[in-house]
Amino acid sequence: MKYEIEKDIMTDNYYLNMGPQHPSTHGVLRLVLRLDGETVLDAVPDLGYLHRGMEKIAESRTYSQFLPFVDRIDYIAALLNEHGYCLAVEKLLGVTVPARAEYIRVIVAELNRIASHIVWYGPFAMDLGAITPFLYAFREREMILDMLESVSGQRLTFAYMRIGGVRQDLPEGFIEKARAFCKYLKPKIDEYETLLTENAIFLKRTKGVGILSGEAAINYGCTGPVLRGSGVKYDIRKNSPYSVYPELEFDIPTGTVGDTWDRYKVRLEEMRQSARIIEQALEKLPSGPIMAEVPKIIKPAPGEAYGRAESSRGEIGFFVVSDGTQYPVRLKIRTGSFSNLSALRDLVKGLKIADVVAVLGSIDIVLGEVDR
């Protein structure tokens, strides 16, 4: 929507500070909006409020000591970060993880993906004014967190995966609970859909709002549901597969126009696919060791490796450079939210303030990932 400013009456633009403390910036993001009335002329993000210097910390921690920190990069999808980090270090070490550990990793990672999408769905509905779906969604998330707590011992920052495998085997009774949960979840997601997807007000608020074309998404380096929402059929689990994903079939939902509604629909569809993956993985779970032979103090040969996994917010990649000692020389963390957020500035030009909230919610950023 091209926006022209009529010049007859002398109106003045003003700056609004959608500051670090704002109910719908999903964390400490500061957006400086230049507004003409309600219409946004420019939105400049100001980052760094949650910059903890993860990459500097990594340089003074051994490879296994850095694992709990990896959970705190994207604290909503912690297991997906761990999966990416373990892949990178195992690629550097040349370690092959036993099959059972790989399947356990996929099961807990996909459970965490559903929980992460739920934490996106609840606040996204609340940003648009519908407060009740948040409570329904978090009822399901509690069940997932209880299951993951029985496996790893924690509810958010799990520190469950180790380089070369996982810390402990699945507790008994977990497999039945997980299978029952997947069956329980499917009708619940349909209910989420009846609440919002066809809702007249929701359609008006999201259809055609914040359109991101395929090329622009690639150019901005957007990955994950934001990229798939714009119609690009790319998922790391399918296009450059890792772990045991080739043995599991699931399809990749993509949007058509690339507006807020498409990104919403893609994520809901992904929750169903994750449930499907978990069910298959539970069937094919082999027995065997859960940890590869990894020396106590990990000293990889000098070299560098880039391992990446498909997190719920896009590609989370770890670029590890080692010089033979037990401390990495450099650990670059490439996160999905960082690049997805860079597209926001072009998306919201000409929209209303209420749309900025809707588009920001549909991009689903976590500030821990953006600022690292």
Binding site: P23, S24, E38, G129, I131, T132, R139, R205, A354
Partner: protein, 322 residues
């Protein structure tokens, strides 16, 4: 002597009315929080008193002893007066509400006109609050609410015309008496008018899908962002007072006022129906997302107002044919 007596009588009526409103608003606050909790599969306040019934009083005491923070270089006077204007507007409308056959504070022969005239005063209060708080978010909230209430006043009033044409009186008790028996209620003769009225009324209250003036997720709290302590309490009270008033009006016009089926006394029937309508308003609020400002205007002007005119036309034709 009779002037003095008259004065005392009016004072007593006013005191009773204010007492009823305060108690009713307190109960409504508790009711809304409990029903909202039921909708959201949670428990809601149940600590203070039996099942949390003393919670509103606890809230009021908390608000009373809280400091009234006034932003630095804001307009102190306007900031102080805003909640008072909003509350008096909501409170004055109760004068001509018929709680029972004889139970009416002031039986004016154009009761409805008076109510609509008075309720629009709250817009000025909200605008004062928006401007007085010297905060961009409140100003935005204030501006939005002015636009919204003005553009929804028209369908609200137009939707009443059908009922007035049928009952050909502006006196509220008169309208109530003209609805004979259960099928005499105007909701059956004027279903479209009822729907338009309910939608426009929710917009008037800044509630449910139309709560853009105090949109929590965009404007933090809209026009009452900078209010704390008892000033915020008065805003809160005013919101629930006007909520009851709007549903009382709906009951009088469409649901046969105090006419019930005998066993219960008339006022209880009236208040019972009001709570049914209030349940509907609460149900709206906890289900629907929020409309955007421009969509809200478009909906109000392009859809509701033409529908209201259509309704008047059809009612006119039907009356002339009969």
């Amino acid at each position: 002597m009779t002037l003095l007596f008259e004065l005392i009588k009016q004072l007593i009526i006013a005191a009773v009315l204010l007492g009823f409103i305060a108690v009713n608003a307190m109960f409504l606050i508790w009711l809304e929080r409990r029903l909202c909790a039921r909708f959201q599969v949670r428990i809601g306040p149940n600590r203070v008193g039996f099942q949390g019934c003393l919670q509103p009083i606890a809230d009021m005491i908390k608000l009373l002893q809280k400091e009234n923070i006034v932003p630095k270089d804001s307009d102190q006077l306007i900031h102080l007066l805003a909640p008072i204007v909003v509350f008096t507007a909501a409170f004055m409308a109760y004068l001509s509400l018929p709680f029972g056959p004889k139970l009416i504070a002031l039986d004016m022969d154009m009761g409805i006109l008076y109510i609509f005239a008075v309720t629009t005063l709250s817009v000025i209060g909200i605008l004062m609050a928006g401007w007085g708080s010297n905060n961009k978010y409140s100003l935005l909230g204030g501006m939005r609410s002015v636009a919204q209430i003005i553009s929804y006043e028209i369908p609200l009033v137009l939707s009443i015309f059908g009922v007035i044409m049928l009952s050909n009186t502006l006196r509220l008790p008169g309208i109530v008496e003209s609805q004979k028996g259960f099928f005499g209620w105007y909701i059956f003769q004027q279903p479209l008018a009822f729907v338009i009225y309910i939608i426009a009324a929710t917009a008037e209250l800044n509630r449910a899908p139309f709560d853009i003036p105090e949109a929590e997720s965009e404007l933090t709290a809209g026009y009452h962002t900078e209010y704390s302590g008892m000033r915020f309490g008065i805003f809160f009270l005013a919101e629930f007072t006007s909520m009851f008033m709007v549903s009382a009006l709906a009951v009088c016009l469409f649901l046969g006022g105090w006419q019930g089926f005998g066993i219960l006394p008339a006022p209880l029937w009236f208040i019972g129906k009001c709570y049914a309508v209030i349940f509907l308003l609460i149900w709206f609020r906890w289900t629907f997302p929020r409309l955007r400002v421009d969509q809200l205007m478009a909906f109000g002007w392009k859809i509701l107002t033409p529908l209201a005119f259509l309704n008047i036309l059809v009612t006119g034709l039907l009356i002339s044919v009969k």
